[in-house]
Symmetry: C2
Subunit: 565 residues, 2 copies
């Protein structure tokens, strides 16, 4: 493997931008027809134009309700042979404690919300009943569109006293089946609550309603010299209330950290309609228990988030992006450590992929191009830095890369020279998900692991599955977040049995998390024990019962049903 000389490396690509390097097409929020490509999985990061939805096809499908038809479509396009679309597939019974909606309920909602905010139209309902991946599908007969906190409170008060189950819905981009009904739960959409309330320009504190779309908030802030502290591929559709409720991670997590650190306050409506005003705007407030954290990441099962107060960092002007090749995973790890030490808080993304992942993108994604065509390497790393001093930032990254190359951590590398090159680098990383789907039937796992163990599961999985499967690893290395993808010719229960529960058990043994950023939702509600101790899960269940004694908030999700009876 030829090692490029350091001087050559530096003479290579070189630039910095004053704007976002990659233009990501927004996902439109209220019209699922334009937000999703059936069968296209999560892009884990920035969405690029590769992810344009086949909207016509979807519209056709959307007017149908049979999951068989959907399955045929999926298998034709991507060779995936089994999907579960209904609650039956996850073996959960409708809870007998819930009432059925009646005409008095509808009458009450109409009198309170106005006719147009009480949606019974079949097309709109069927869109809201299906999740982004088309994997989960409920059969709700009612979608409500409250316009303010008081209306949310009245809705919940009514539903609680009538034992009507509900599901809060934001942008419906969640990936674990949390945002759609399982049976006939009333869907409460926050879409009409999208007002920006205030921006404190001294402290960068934004207060807004929960239904604000992440990208809209970012655009608003950009004009004021701030940015949102989180960024997701779904930003054109997802709502800040949904982000808070899933504790979304995303691309800039390595820079700005968790929402537990950035959210300053919340307004939340509890199951019985009580409004909890915790909408603080203070960086420091040690008066009693900090209850807002209970709602961050509780996936709509403890309350409906109606307003959010969030600390927004200043918008910085220079961005640099480098794609690097490393000989082994240890070098990637060491590079991360050195980068944290030397580039410090300038790092805004630190992604990695193995050579099988790279090969898969190159083989399946039109236009994907290897910047190191003459050689092949075992691992690739993408480092983005963002700062306020264009020439210094660039020089600092260059110097760091030079040292890393001289020290043997990097075998080759390139700094994007212009926006096109930056796009083509991102395209490789972002094309990964789609490439794996194009390559065959794919089993996807989103794991959080200690960085030094992170790649072991990939290496253990390979001999375990042998020739039958291609195992690739990539993800947010900087956050210890691995996307383990296993691609086979076709879906096969024997292979599945070799993967699960092994992958969950392995993750558990290494004190990892079986859900790094997507939550548990419906998909992994009964898998929580792999990541949390029995006593902790027991306390979660007690808190759920304390806050929502009738269990009307997003039932069947997050916690095992058995613990809530």
């Amino acid at each position: 493997m030829a090692r490029r000389r350091a001087s050559q490396f530096l003479a290579g690509y070189c630039c910095s931008q004053s704007h976002s390097l990659v233009r990501r097409p927004p996902l439109c929020s209220q019209e699922p027809a334009s937000i999703s490509a059936p069968g296209l999985p999560h892009t884990h990061g920035k969405a690029t134009s590769m992810f344009k939805p086949p909207s016509k096809l979807y519209r056709k499908l959307n007017s149908q309700t049979s999951c068989d038809i959907m399955q045929v479509h999926y298998s034709r396009t991507y060779g995936i042979h089994q999907r579960s679309f209904t609650s039956a597939a996850i073996n959960i019974q409708r809870s007998p404690s819930f009432s059925k909606l009646n005409s008095d309920d509808i009458g009450y909602f109409k009198s309170m919300l106005g006719d147009k905010n009480v949606v019974q139209d079949e097309d709109r309902l069927s869109a809201a009943n299906v999740d982004w991946m088309r994997k989960y599908k409920g059969s709700s007969q009612l979608l409500l569109l409250p316009r303010n906190t008081e209306e949310v409170s009245k809705i919940l008060h009514h539903c609680n006293s009538r034992h009507l189950a509900i599901v809060p819905q934001g942008g419906n981009t969640g990936l674990v089946g949390g945002s759609v009904p399982v049976y006939d739960e009333v869907i409460i959409s926050l879409a009409s609550m999208d007002q920006i309330i205030s921006l404190d320009k001294v402290n960068g504190i934004l207060i807004c309603e929960a239904g604000c779309i992440l990208e809209n908030l970012n655009s608003f802030l950009a004009n004021e010299g701030f940015i949102m502290p989180l960024d997701l591929g779904a930003k054109g559709s997802c709502q800040i209330g949904g982000n808070v409720s899933t504790n979304a991670g995303g691309l800039h997590f390595i820079r700005y950290g968790s929402l537990h650190g950035n959210i300053l306050g919340l307004e939340v409506v509890l199951a019985d309609g009580t409004v909890l005003d915790m909408l603080g705007t203070l960086r420091k407030d040690n008066t009693g228990y900090d209850l807002k954290h209970l709602f961050i990441g509780s996936e709509g099962s403890l309350g409906i988030v109606t307003k959010v107060s969030i600390l927004t960092p200043p918008k910085l002007l220079s961005t640099n992006l480098a794609l690097l090749a490393c000989k082994d995973f240890l070098s990637c790890q060491k590079l991360l450590l050195e980068a944290k030490r030397e580039l410090g808080e300038a790092i805004s993304a630190f992604e990695f992929m193995d050579s099988d992942a790279m090969d898969m993108v190159l083989a399946h994604m039109d236009g994907a191009r290897n910047p190191f065509p003459s050689s092949s390497y075992n691992f690739y790393v993408l480092i983005e830095t963002t700062g306020s001093d264009e020439s210094y930032d660039k020089a600092k990254l260059e110097a760091f890369l030079l040292r890393s190359m001289e020290g043997g951590l990097i075998s080759d590398g390139a700094i994007a020279q212009d926006i096109n090159q930056a796009s083509s680098f991102w395209q490789i990383r972002e094309g990964m998900s789609e490439a794996t789907v194009k390559a065959g039937a794919v089993y996807k796992y989103d794991l959080s692991l200690p960085v030094e163990k992170l790649y072991d599961i990939v290496e253990e999985m390979r001999p375990r599955l042998g020739e039958k499967a291609k195992v690739v690893g990539y993800g947010h290395l900087g956050d210890g977040n691995l996307h383990l993808n296993i691609i086979t010719k076709q879906y096969d229960n024997n292979i599945l049995a070799q993967i699960e529960p092994f992958v969950y058990e392995w993750t558990s043994t290494h004190r990892g998390s079986i859900s790094a950023e997507h939550g548990l939702g419906l998909m992994k509600a009964d898998k929580i024990h792999y990541s949390k101790s029995p006593e902790t899960v027991q306390l979660m269940a007690s808190i759920k019962k304390l806050l929502d004694p009738s269990g009307i908030l997003n039932p069947y999700k997050v916690l095992p049903q058995s613990m809530l009876q």
Copy 2:
């Protein structure tokens, strides 16, 4: 007010250090005689040698129990004429639901912990019964020193079944009376649980027992290239478990944020002895409710923290410190905004003080020196930056200050040239608390307020109190944390009535917090309503009852007693 020319300013002091600028003498942890000067209040930041305790005097006092004698001492030395030392003063009755300790209890504890970890010695007990400020004093007859989580669990299991109330005690440096008993609660000290368990050098994740002293952790980390994300004047005594339990802020809060963002996991023992293993080491983990946040800042009232997992930032090598003069508070505010924008995450401290505060330090603190002797200004700001690139960091700060001076935000300024100058700058800020105490009887308020309102309360207080009082304002401007200090000749109930509840009401009206960083403890348990809504306080009380049905954990603290019956 002469404005120094920018060129002159830059030709002035100039340096950067590769080590901490100020050497702070550690506060010794287990021997209160050496940690505290009676009557010396909280230093709010780095402790300097100014705060050397009159230990002989204290030892004499410590062997006595009469609060009258203490009061005489205080008033003689510092002119403070009223202090409350016992539970009587705060009008709380011992809860009849608690049992009294008997010989069987002692026998059980001795058999389980060994004789030497069951402390009944009067001197040691009386030290543990009194808080750092000598303001609160309990009458516990028993101090237990568990050595591991299992022992903590067995102690709590026993106490819970016997209805024996307990108080968890860390370094006993808390400033709101939370760490000492009110009556005869059993003191559970974490001092013997001070083992470092592991450091993940790739991710900078430290796991340690709760009794580790903050400064020891920092020294350990320094050798490994990391630092703790928090720094307090009390670091030589306070324990990480105490920091977590008070959600301590401190000097570097502006840089590294809240412990809610930095703590990755906790092990906590609940009231009934159940061990909650939430000791995750992952940056991302979205599996269920993130319960560790309930315990961060709950001041020992929901459980005893036994182990901590914390994200530690890399240790950076260059530090710069500037003391600046501003003509008005608006300029300080604008300077903060500009500094955040231009210096970004390089800022590691941003403190302010008004001219009355400055004058008070100059008048009362030996050795305090005004760096701008020929002029007097209305406000002073201290900016510290920390980075990895010595010459660049210095140049960047200089350039920023130059622009700020040209733009009129700064009227004068100096960059510390060596460690002595840096110390003398810090001495001004850190001498503030002691200076106010020396100046007379002082009423102290630790408020969190929106930055643009932060100084208004100082300005409203002045005409309100007239000639009778000197009102000074200083604090952690970067975090919106004001220390409002009102100094009078002698303590006077009429003056108090003009301050309280006005100061709490004013803070509440402006959605501020009546406790920015110290917690509520015993002192402000019944003031919580000024900062939290009734519904939120109600939910806190429900959670307290859920986790600690017998109320044995740190009773009379954090929440109003009336809500827990």
